[in-house]
Symmetry: C2
Subunit: 153 residues, 2 copies
DNA sequence: GTCAACCCTTGCATTATGCAATGGTTCGAT
DNA sequence: ATCGAACCATTGCATAATGCAAGGGTTGAC
């Protein structure tokens, strides 16, 4: 059992490190929270600020400032909601969308290269085992209202 | 291939979330960087500050302030190095050691519970596949002088 | 004995974060 | 219709984490 957890932790560290590297390779200045914000906003209809905050699991004030910085960097745009003057809609600019796509592609490539070194049998076993694992997580944590970080795609 | 990376990313997110939860369950106030610092210092002979900084991959000034905070919290102690007056040795207090052990145990338990829901076959396949993966990483990134985050235990 | 290299520290700047207070907006109940 | 509760974004204040640059003490080699 100790072996399982140890290998899981090592693999997780590895993926995190590769992800961080993919980000750094694409843009030295963008931080991880900033990327996370952009990712949440990508491929989704415009979000109002409070929904973004909820999605990220942070305080609204944090989301406000994050939006400030990303807007200043030209990656995000604020639009008034025509249906409600107290709300504001956030969406990515074309630059923001491009950046997200580039980083994601890069990460995909980094991980793919790693997995490419794996024997085919291990590769199949990996998918099978990890699917089981996230399924088990879904079972253990049925739905995570208070754990926004736990997104089991 | 897309499947493999997607499942890897999902699993990594899961492990990270569980780790964060284990920490929060044990101590609401301790931050992740602080825990990481304590972990580096645990089970190791006293480190001088510059070595700690190198181990963490941060600027020495960051390590100084981290040590300040952890010392203020009673988790870490500074000792003059009898062999060199310009150096300083950092080590955990008994409280610090206890805290690290508690958090690690908790994390271990969280992950173990998850893995416990896995069919035995998947469990074996998981270890095998993850071992292959970290082995592949070792091959792809022979030794990581500039990637202190990449510890393939 | 001098000077370069090393070590820790501190000042300054920036990002990320939460809590509390505030002013504007919406909506339902009266 | 209006009044108050709920909602929304924002800002002030505090703290942690981080890097860069400068500075003062210490060591060691030459």
């Amino acid at each position: 059992m100790r072996e399982v957890t140890a290998s899981l932790l090592a693999a997780s560290r590895l993926i995190v490190a590769l992800s961080a590297r993919a980000l750094a390779d694409v843009d030295e200045t963008l931080t991880l929270p900033q990327l996370r914000t952009l990712v949440v906003l990508a491929d989704r209809p415009p979000l109002k600020l409070s929904d973004l905050a909820a999605e990220l699991g942070v305080n609204p004030s944090t989301a406000v400032r994050m939006a400030d910085r990303l807007a200043a960097a030209g990656l995000l745009a604020r639009r008034p909601n025509p249906d409600s003057r107290r709300e504001q809609l956030l969406l990515l600019t074309p630059d923001g969308r491009d950046l997200v796509r580039t980083v994601m592609d890069r990460r995909q490539a980094e991980i793919a290269e790693l997995v490419g070194h794996l024997p085919a049998a291990d590769r199949a076993g990996l998918v099978q085992a990890l699917r089981s694992l996230t399924a088990a997580a879904r079972h253990t944590y049925p739905d995570s209202p208070d754990h926004p970080g736990l997104r089991l795609g």
